[in-house]
Amino acid sequence: MEKTENQKTLRPPFSFLLRDLLKCEDKKKACIYTILGMVIVLLIGGGLLSLRDDLDRIVNILAPLFMGLVTITGLVNLAVLLFVRSKRWPSLLMGFLSLLSLNITGGIYTLAIGKSEIIRPAYTDREVPMDMSASTSLFVEERPTYQEGYDKENNVVVRVVSKKAKTKPYQVRGIEDVSAKNNWKGWLYLAPVIILVSVFLIYPLVSTIFISFTSSYNYQTGSFDGLTFRNFTFILGLTTKSPINDAREVFFTKYAIPNTFILVIVTVPISTMLALIIAVALNSIKWFQKALQTIFFLPYVTNGIAVGMVFSVMFDQSGVINYIFGTNIAWISATAQRATAFIPLVIYIVWNSIPFKILIFLSGLQGIDKQYYHAAQIDSAPRHKVLWRITVPLLSPQILYILITSFIGAFKEYTSIVGLFNGPGTAGKSDPNMETIVYYIYDNISEPSIASAAAVFLFVIILAFTALQFAASKKRVHY
C-alpha cells in the first residue's frame, strides 16, 4: 500500500524552490532559466550603461526602479524560500518575477549550498565528524505516493480520498519539551550576535551596493548627489570624473583587474600542485614525518607584512637571490620591470599559501583507506598510476575545497603587496603597477562611491567564479 518510510533525499534546499517557482521539474531547465534571467538583467544593465553620457537623467530615474525591482523580487523569493517551504508554489508569475532576482539570490544560494558541502572535507578528522544530518534544513522530505487500485502485497483496495498533503508527517517524538517550542529565550541568546551581524555584516552589504550607485557619497555627512551608474563606468575607464585630479580611472582596468587575474591564474595552480606533491611525499615517509610537517606549516604562523619585508630584502638588487643565481636583476626596486616584479610576488604568495593546503591534503590522505593501496600493490600498479587513479580521485573533495578557498583568497591579495612593495607597486603611487582590485578599494576609501563600485565588482566576480567552479567540478568530485 503506502510507502511507510518517507524517502529522504539529499537535495539542497534551494534547487526544489527554483524548480517549483519555474514550474519545471528538470534541473537543467531551471539552470537555463537562471542564465536567461542573468542575461536579461545584464542586457538591461548594459543598456543603461550605454546611455551613460547623454541620458544621465533617464539613468537616474531607472536606476532606483531597477534596483527596487531587483530588491523586491529578491525579498519575495526569500520569503517564499523561508516560509512556503514544503508547499508547491503554483504561480508562474512568481517564477517570472524571480527570474530577475535569480542572478543575485541564485548566486548566493548556490554558494550557500556549495559552502555547506564544501566545508565537509575539512572534517575528515576522525575525532570530530561533522554532523551534517543534524541541520534538518538541508533535507527535504518527499511526500509518499499513493496508487489507486488493489494492492497485492497488503491485500487491500486503495482509494485516494484526497491528494492534499498532510501538513505534517506523522512522527513519534517521544518526550516533547512543550515549553521550548516557542522559546523567546532563544532570541535572547541570539540577540548580541544578531545586533552585531546586522550592523557590521548585513547592513554594510546593502549599504555598499547602494553607495556604489550614488554619486560622490560623502562619508561624513552621508549626503550624495543622486543615483548614477557613473561609478561603474568610472572604474571601468569609460567616463572621467568632472574635476580631473588624477588618472585613477585608468588604473582599475590597466593594473587592478589584469594583476588580480594574473595572480589568480598563476598562483592557484602552482601552489595547489606543489602542496599536493609535498603532501603525498610527506605521507609516504616514515621518519621525521611530524617534524617535517611542522616545518611545512611554519609559513602559516607568520605575520604577512613581516615576511613580505623579508622577501623584499632577499629580492633586493644586492640581495641574496641575485647573489645565489649570479644575476643582477632589479626585482622590486623602483627600476624594476612589471613582469619581473611578479616573480617575487608569486613566489611569496605560493610560499605563504602552501602550508594550509598541505595540512588539508595531509588530513585527507590520512583518511584514505589503506586497502586501496594494498590492492594496487597486489596488482603491482606503477606509482604514478596509484597517484592518479587512487590518491587524486579519493582526495577530490579536499582538492575542490582548496581550489575554491584559494581562488577566493587569490582574488583578495593585498597584504602580500603591501609587505613586499611597501606601496601599490615598484614605482610608487603615481604608477601603481602591482595594484590589485582590493588594493584599489582600500586606496580609494576616501571616495566611498568609487570604492564601493570596485567592491561590488569584486563581489560579483567572486560569486560568479565560485558558482562556476562549483558547477564545473560537481561532476568531477568522486563519491
Binding site: A112, V197, I305
Partner: protein, 324 residues
C-alpha cells in the same frame, strides 16, 4: 622467453602437460628479485627525502635569512658578496630597534585589542552557537541560513560601510583617543559567523540526553550552557581563541584604515612594522639590519605561540580552514 596461453579456451579440453609459466624476471632468483625491490624502494625513499628536505630548506630559508640579516651590519647586507653568517654579530641592532621602534606600545595595543575582541567573540559565539545547536524556537533555521549566507560575502564589501559606521560613532577622525581607536578595532570583530558555525556543529554532537537530564534536574538553560556545554567544547574554544589571536596579530588593513591620520601610538604591530621605515637619515637607504630585527621581534611571539599550542593550532586550522 614468453608463452601466452588462453586458459578459457583450454578449460574444457585436457590441458597440455608441458606448460611452463614464465615471468619477465624468470632468470633471476626470488632472492635477487627481493633485493631488487628493496634497492628500488630505498632509492625512492632517498629521493623523496631529498625532495622534501630541499623544499623544507626553501620554506625555512626566509626565516633563516631574516634572523641572519637582523644580526648583520648594514655594510655587510649591502655588500656584493653575501655572507650566510654574519661576520660580526650585531646584537646592538636589537638594542637600537627597541629604542626606535615602539615595540612595547604596539605590543600593548595588539594584546589589548586581541584580548577584548577575543573575549567578546567567545561570548557571542558561545551564546549563539548554543541557541542554534540546542535550543528550539521558531525562526531558528531561517536565521541560521541567513547567517550562513553572509559567509559568502567577501570582507571587502563590508569595509567601506563599516568605516562609515565607525566614523559616525565618532571613533575615527580628528580628536581620536586611544579608547576610540580600540573600540573601532574591536567592536566590528566581536562576532564571527564562521566560529558560530564551527561551534554549533560541535555543540550539536553533544547528546540531547544530557540536556534533558539537566532539565529534569531543574537546571536552567543558562547554567547548563556554562556548566556542561562549555567544558565539553573547550578544545574548539581554545582553537578559536588562538586563531582569533593570530588574526589580530596579523591584521593590517582595518587597523591601518581606522588609525590613519592620527597618532601612530594607536597602531597595531603590523602597521607599526610597515610604517617604520628605518631609513638612514644621511644616505636615505633603508637600514635592513634594523628592519629585520624589528621583523624578528614581530615574528617571535607568534612562533612561541605556535610552539606551545602546535596541536590546537594545526587542528583548529584544519578544521576551520581560515586565517584569523
Amino acid at each position: 622467453m614468453k608463452k601466452y596461453i588462453d586458459f578459457h579456451a583450454v578449460k574444457d579440453q585436457t590441458a597440455p602437460s608441458n606448460i611452463v609459466l614464465s615471468l619477465d624476471e624468470s632468470d633471476k632468483s626470488a632472492e635477487a628479485i627481493r633485493t631488487g625491490d628493496k634497492v628500488s624502494r630505498i632509492i625512492i625513499t632517498i629521493l623523496t627525502y631529498i625532495f622534501i628536505l630541499a623544499l623544507a630548506v626553501v620554506i625555512v630559508f626566509p626565516f633563516y635569512w631574516m634572523i641572519i640579516t637582523s644580526l648583520k651590519q648594514n655594510e655587510e647586507i649591502q655588500a656584493s658578496t653575501q655572507t650566510f653568517f654574519p661576520n660580526i654579530v650585531m646584537w646592538s641592532n636589537y638594542v637600537h630597534v627597541l629604542q626606535v621602534f615602539k615595540f612595547g606600545i604596539y605590543m600593548r595595543n595588539t594584546i589589548v585589542v586581541a584580548i577584548i575582541s577575543t573575549a567578546g567573540t567567545l561570548i557571542t559565539t558561545i551564546l549563539a552557537a548554543f541557541a542554534f545547536g540546542k535550543m528550539r524556537f521558531k525562526g531558528k533555521e531561517a536565521v541560521f541560513l541567513i547567517f550562513l549566507m553572509t559567509m559568502m560575502i567577501p570582507g571587502e564589501m563590508m569595509v567601506i560601510t563599516n568605516y562609515i559606521t565607525v566614523a559616525s560613532f565618532g571613533w575615527i577622525g580628528s580628536g581620536q583617543t586611544i579608547y576610540d581607536a580600540y573600540a573601532a578595532m574591536i567592536v566590528p570583530f566581536w562576532t564571527s559567523v564562521f566560529y558560530i558555525y564551527l561551534l554549533r556543529q560541535n555543540i550539536k554532537q553533544i547528546p540531547n540526553e544530557l540536556y534533558l537530564a539537566a532539565k529534569v534536574d531543574g537546571k536552567s538553560d543558562w547554567s547548563f550552557l556554562w556548566k556542561v556545554i562549555v567544558p565539553l567544547v573547550s578544545p574548539t574554544l581554545i582553537s578559536i581563541v588562538i586563531l582569533k589571536f593570530m588574526g589580530t596579530w596579523n591584521s593590517y588593513v582595518w587597523p591601518q584604515l581606522v588609525t590613519a591620520g592620527s597618532d601612530s601610538n594607536f597602531q597595531l604591530i603590523s602597521n607599526g612594522l610597515r610604517g617604520s621605515g628605518f631609513v638612514d637619515p644621511d644616505s636615505g637607504n633603508v637600514e635592513y639590519g634594523y628592519q629585520m630585527a624589528a621583523t624578528v621581534l614581530v615574528t617571535v611571539p607568534l612562533f612561541l605561540l605556535f610552539i606551545f599550542f602546535r596541536k590546537y593550532i594545526m587542528k583548529g586550522v584544519g578544521r576551520a580552514g581560515i586565517k584569523g
